[in-house]
Symmetry: C2
Subunit: 310 residues, 2 copies
């Protein structure tokens, strides 16, 4: 007897990962495709379909019963991606409708961070929690807010844009066109920008002196060697994130904040300052009450599992 | 046949209002007592009980079947008021338990702004809305966030402290001990502080020159006479509120924001700048989508009705 499979698709600014999830919540097959370089969303959907058809056993492919998609600015209610600053496609993209036409299967679309939150709630460190905040630190900074055991979609499906809360008033230019968004500081490109600024301004000895930073992994390796400048770059980034999280907690008072993605992999170098500045800035009634955790799911699994569960 | 009545109590920083609400949602009797000058919470509860017993017909008093309380930092889960910066009582006050002992009737306690949100959702401009933000601009600044048709209480009952989101980093000292909270700028005392600062710094002709401001009503009257300084005080206050609301909307994406209390009574002098700076600062996906409304319920009714409905 064949088993029904759900297709979970996680569209990121750089890569799109997909996986087939069985009824026990196990990813039985997966793959990925670049999110960039397709001439149109239609071409992207065709390329995705073609690649899956070639890569997956036809028996699996035929047993897909539903598709869930996590995408930047993905709208749960309309199935569209709308004005996603980190994708090459501008304006309103009717993604659910394009996929439904291509696959002839029901499709649900949501914010990629909302999908990751669903994944954490069902399979990860948020299992059993009714109130938590998921923060995805990737090409962009996304979030999913769960309150009373439910994802907050908002009246139009666009809730949870913590990455576009103003962290620094009149601060650094963000991809969305405004200034000082959290994303401009704590995304993959945000911390790289901070690093290059701080390296440029630095006058003390550092193994980062005259190095052009392109990836937070370079900072992590320098911090591991005890480089004070690298440590202070994480400290500054953690300060901005900790301060912004302290404000977000005043709105939904969660049991935990779960960090996921690139920056979260820097371990205690980023977690220690986040926790320090969070506690320093948070209102007294929340002090020492909110767990700040990192996701324990494999990088792409949370989003695929969450998307499949939509 | 006698009708069951619910007692709604709204504890504010200055005054405590109460009302008996019948099964049709009509306030059939009401009164108030000062929140200040009682030597202990126990003395306050005794004084409240005594005054009600004298003021209300004994037949009504005997038909009270439940008590709902909206109070600053009131906790829905524990029934306590915990560390309320605007009350004379410090630390943890077991309010539900004190009232239950005094009245021998079941008691529910919540944040006063959460109670106001319930009132708006059942009887006010938020009727039929599933996603909105209630903002109370009084002695303090409170808020109630409704998402998916439910109040967000948070894991510990303390969600919705928009008044203690940092509106101005390293800004004005707030009653909570931190700096730059929204409440320090948009509460009754906040706008008075702004006014006195701006009057002091002002060099242009103004009917407010050399006037010591004690109440936003003075500013409203001056603005009505076309005083540019008064108008710019509302503009500055509306800017801070509009900016902070733009960030809050990025979290819950509400259909509307409902303003209630002192400052909301300044009409277009405060609403116009709030709307202008909100739209100027909000992320593109939310632009022109969020209604900014003022409560149409009588000042104390919303909170009493909401509290009674807890």
């Amino acid at each position: 007897m064949t088993q029904a499979l759900r297709l979970g698709i996680d569209i990121g600014g750089t890569n799109t990962a997909y996986g087939l999830v069985n009824e026990s919540g196990v990813i039985v097959a997966q793959g990925s495709i670049s999110s960039r370089g397709h001439e149109s969303p239609e071409a992207f959907v065709r390329a995705l379909y073609q690649q899956m058809k070639e890569a997956l056993p036809s028996s699996s492919f035929e047993n897909i019963t539903s598709i869930g998609v996590g995408a930047p600015n993905g709208n749960y209610y309309t199935g569209n991606i709308e004005f996603a600053p980190n994708l090459e496609w501008k304006g309103i993209i009717p993604l659910a409708s394009l996929l439904q036409t291509q696959f002839s299967i029901p499709v649900r679309v949501s914010n990629d961070a909302n999908a990751a939150a669903m994944g954490e709630m069902m399979y990860g460190v948020a299992k059993g929690m009714r109130d938590f905040i998921m923060v995805t630190l990737g090409t962009g900074v996304g979030s999913g807010f769960v309150a009373n055991g439910e994802l907050i979609y908002g009246h139009d499906g666009f809730a949870g844009e913590l990455g576009h809360v103003i962290a620094v008033r009149d601060g650094r230019l963000c991809g969305c066109g405004r200034k000082g968004c959290l994303e401009a500081y704590t995304s993959a490109t945000g911390i790289v920008a901070t690093a290059n600024e701080m390296i440029h301004a630095n006058t003390s000895p550092s193994i980062l002196a005259n190095v052009a930073i392109t990836d937070s992994k370079q900072l992590f390796e320098a911090a591991q060697k005890g480089d004070a400048l690298a440590i202070s770059i994480f400290d500054y980034t953690g300060k901005i994130l900790g301060q912004t999280l302290a404000d977000a907690v005043a709105i939904t008072s969660p049991e935990a904040i779960i960090l996921f993605g690139g920056l979260a992999r820097a371990g205690h170098f980023i977690l220690d300052p986040i926790k320090f500045y969070f506690e320093e800035n948070v209102l007294i009634i929340y002090k020492s009450k909110v767990k700040i955790l990192t996701s324990q799911l494999a990088e792409s699994d949370a989003a695929i599992l969450g998307a499949a569960a939509l």
